[in-house]
Amino acid sequence: MGMPITVEVVDDRVGDTAIKDTFDYFKAVDEQYSTYKPDSEISRINQGLPRKQWSKEMREVLNLCKKTKQETDGYFDIEHNGKLDPSGLVKGWAIDQAAKRLRKRHIADFYIEAGGDIQTWGLNGDGEPWRIGIRNPFNTREIVKVIHVSMSGVATSGTYVRGQHIYDPHAPGKPVHTVKSLTVIGHNIYDADRFATAAFAMGEEGIKFIEALAGLEGYMIDHHKTATMTSGFQQYVA
């Protein structure tokens, strides 16, 4: 997966073990699901590993991918050129699993962030809901929105590429990518991430898809620097 991971636990009694365990878990997920590691299970599957040798966990993850594809009318699809790449689901799924592991240790207040996707539980060090900034896709040093969440998953889909070299070969001068970023908030990061991924693939219609899904709210930023939000998004704003 190759991305930075941050874990913050608000609990003086918690030793380093809980946090080390979380990082070890992500490392193991990477070893299994990274398409950039030729020895990972997914790479070996793409190289022809017989189905009966696939691990139970891999089968479960691939099943979740299949279900997500159905739920998103095919906009979420892990198969490309005959190869499988489940990373669009694995990121949120892994954070969700890692959060469950911390919960099992009775840790009440924490967040896990991996590649810009976040799962929070409880309250921050000030005893308040976690304050999460939404990055400005036009200036990644800036924040354009602050949301306050307690037990939520927050995922952002998008690609930030600096300005003038993006173009559409079929329509020179017309911007190719009209949605710059889409942030989705849900109860768990697994749902927020996979639906953010699918919704982003839908372009400007994606925010309507999120609006239609119960329990998910969204904030879409387009190339005009205009943000569109779902009707329940305001509850997360101070």
Binding site: G2, H165, P169, S181
Partner: protein, 162 residues
């Protein structure tokens, strides 16, 4: 119907079929040709080559450009999959250095996204984005370096190596 009219009709029909045939082969040829559409800023004397293989594997770490030297020219990277679409870059080298990077393919460049929500949607609130105070616990955002970008870029630079 007179003889001459019938002959004219036959000639017209034959010409029509030939026109359709040539148009078809012309279209077919265009489909199989390189997806590169040269922008006007393409540096002259460039050697463009493209390959249609995606996911050429390789490690996820970023391409190390510091130690390699590159031949001048313009190189088209492989088409790499960025999950929700393809990324393909074209890299220009001048004086041994990268002077330009163009995106030939970019995810979600299909303007005809389907509306899967059949119901009428309520009006959604909009606002102009504005910089906020950065007093936050953490930040959500898309990761800047797309692995597919790195892949296509590496492929282009591999072709440029002296």
């Amino acid at each position: 119907m007179s003889e001459s009219i019938r002959t004219t009709k036959k000639v017209l029909l034959a010409v029509g079929i030939l026109v359709v045939f040539f148009a078809y082969t012309f279209l077919l040829r265009n489909q199989h040709s390189s997806p590169v559409i040269a922008p006007s800023s393409l540096s002259s004397g460039g050697n463009t080559s493209s390959s249609n293989s995606s996911n050429s594997g390789g490690s996820g770490s970023s391409a190390n450009t510091a130690s390699a030297s590159y031949k001048d020219g313009t190189y088209t990277g492989s088409i790499a999959n960025a999950f929700y679409g393809n990324v393909q870059v074209q890299v220009s080298i001048s004086g041994g250095k990268i002077t330009n990077v163009h995106f030939l393919q970019y995810p979600n460049d299909n303007p005809n996204s389907q509306n899967i929500n059949q119901q009428a949607t309520p009006y959604l609130k909009q606002e102009a984005i504005q910089a906020q105070s950065a007093n936050v616990n953490t930040i959500t955002g898309a990761t800047f370096t797309s692995q597919a970008f790195v892949q296509s870029m590496s492929s282009a630079l591999n072709q440029a190596k002296a």
